[in-house]
């Protein structure tokens, strides 16, 4: 039997409150399925399961707060059989059709509400396409929904719904307080434990913005890029040369193979959420824009998955054009650096003895002095600046 435990989603998480089970005993789960919403100090997080099997028992009640590591549910691994229990009736019904086809297949009872009959493939395609299976008419054995049914339903829906309707404005109640507390705890820990050093450089953004304006003119509205994707990409590329900054400090410096940039998203209601942009160095500006388009609305709706949050190797904070001129960040432990970008400002710049006006960005680095020294940080910022002078290569 697999014990599903309250996961740790970061070094700072000590406990979580179960808000909602997304499964019930008897449900089949696959690795990666969302099985619960857990409210943490970071907000409501969708919790994934990492094993395949059948949910045997739910041990934690909704609204119960339990420490990390607490067994929350028992999952019977795929292939393992259990003594039949009344609770598993619906699974049994679902797979009842696995009988000797030489025998008469017994008449299948009319589908009951909780026992929606759909093939795994149909379920998977439906999930990937956000299709509600209860709206689909099944044509398979015993009324089971098959791939064909789902594909037909998706095609029909896509014709019907263009453009897509507004999502219902029923975002879960933001637990601002919790998020505030999470930020407080992490930042306090950081300030207590991490000896920060700070560096700043000014970057001429005229080439980058010109390239961007040109690129955007040729694009449909939906494909436009924001300056921030260039900043993310440049940071990620620069990090390749400075692996000591893309690391964590846990009993010494531990470099990370992947460059996963924690991107700070501020909530209008206060507080921050920092989902990870995985392998940012390998993504094109368009890919990065797409990632942001996926992450930001979900973050603001407090609908991030646990995997969105737990893997970043460095943090990037961007105040944007409405923000202050520069930001000196507080490192998010156990990371060892945070990159900060202020607003892009028109500034007088001396060039060849003349004063010109240029859009200027103030980029900062806060580094963990246990891990690196100012020299490494300076070289990193220099590299960042160089990269932003060649936007077309990003």
């Amino acid at each position: 039997m697999i014990e599903f435990r309250m996961p740790s989603l970061g070094a700072d998480m000590e406990a979580g409150t179960l808000r909602e089970w997304k499964v019930k005993p008897g449900d089949t789960v696959e690795r990666g399925d969302i099985i619960a919403d857990v409210e943490t100090m970071k907000g409501i997080i969708e919790i994934e399961v990492f094993d395949a099997g059948v949910v045997e028992q739910l041990l934690v009640k909704e609204d119960e707060k339990v420490p990390v590591g607490t067994v929350m549910a028992l999952i019977r691994p795929a292939g393992e059989t259990a003594a039949p229990k009344p609770a598993e009736r619906h699974v049994y019904e679902t797979f009842k059709s696995i009988v000797n086809v030489k025998e008469e297949i017994p008449p299948v009872p009319a589908p009951v509400h909780e026992g929606l009959r759909a093939s795994p493939l149909a379920r998977r395609i439906a999930a990937e396409n956000h299709l509600d299976l209860s709206t689909v008419q099944g044509s398979g054995e015993g009324g089971a929904i098959t791939r064909e049914d789902v594909e037909k339903a998706i095609a029909e829906r896509d014709i019907r719904l263009k453009p897509r309707p507004a999502e219902p404005a029923t975002a879960p109640a933001a637990s601002t307080e919790n998020i505030r507390m999470a930020v407080a705890a992490a930042m306090s820990k950081s300030n207590r434990e991490i000896p920060h050093y700070y560096l700043e450089t000014s970057i001429d953004m005229s080439k980058a913005l010109a390239w961007l304006a040109g690129a955007n003119r040729q694009r449909p509205v939906a494909k436009r890029l924001l300056p921030v994707v260039l900043l993310i990409k440049a940071t990620a590329k620069a990090l390749r040369e400075f692996p000591d900054l893309n690391a964590v400090w846990e009993n010494g410096l531990q470099r990370k193979a992947e460059i996963n940039i924690g991107f700070v998203i501020s909530l209008r209601t206060g507080g921050l959420i920092v989902p990870a942009i995985r392998n940012a160095d390998k993504k094109s500006p368009d890919d990065l824009m797409e990632t942001l388009t996926d992450l930001i609305p979900r973050a603001r709706a407090l609908k991030l998955r646990s995997s969105d949050l737990s893997e970043s190797t460095i943090t990037l904070t961007n105040l944007g054009d409405d923000g202050a001129d520069a930001v000196f960040g507080v490192i998010y432990p156990p990371q060892v650096a945070i990159v900060g970008f202020g607003g892009i400002r028109e500034q007088p710049v001396a060039e060849n003895g003349l004063i010109g006006v240029r859009p200027v960005l103030r980029a900062t680095l806060a580094g963990d002095h246990r891990a690196t020294d100012g020299l490494t940080g300076s070289r990193f910022l220099a590299a960042l600046q160089q990269l932003l002078q060649q936007p077309e290569t990003l």
Partner: protein, 81 residues
Amino acid sequence: MTDADIKTTIFQLLKRIAPDTEPTLLKPNDNIRDTLGIDSFDALQFIIALNEKLGIEIPEQDYGKTATLEQLTAYIKTKER
């Protein structure tokens, strides 16, 4: 489209982009982004939404002409044939 229709559409779209705001409380000359706390990302999403819903394409250089509710409504009307 009447001014009222345009306004309703704007409110709907803003509500969708930023569900935790109250766009209907906007005054005609309020800066939309500042008042609602909308960042550049949300602003772009709003422009995309306007494009999808009304077929209007606002080029980047015109962003300055669409800062307030009043300006935006007027801008949309000029773009309508």
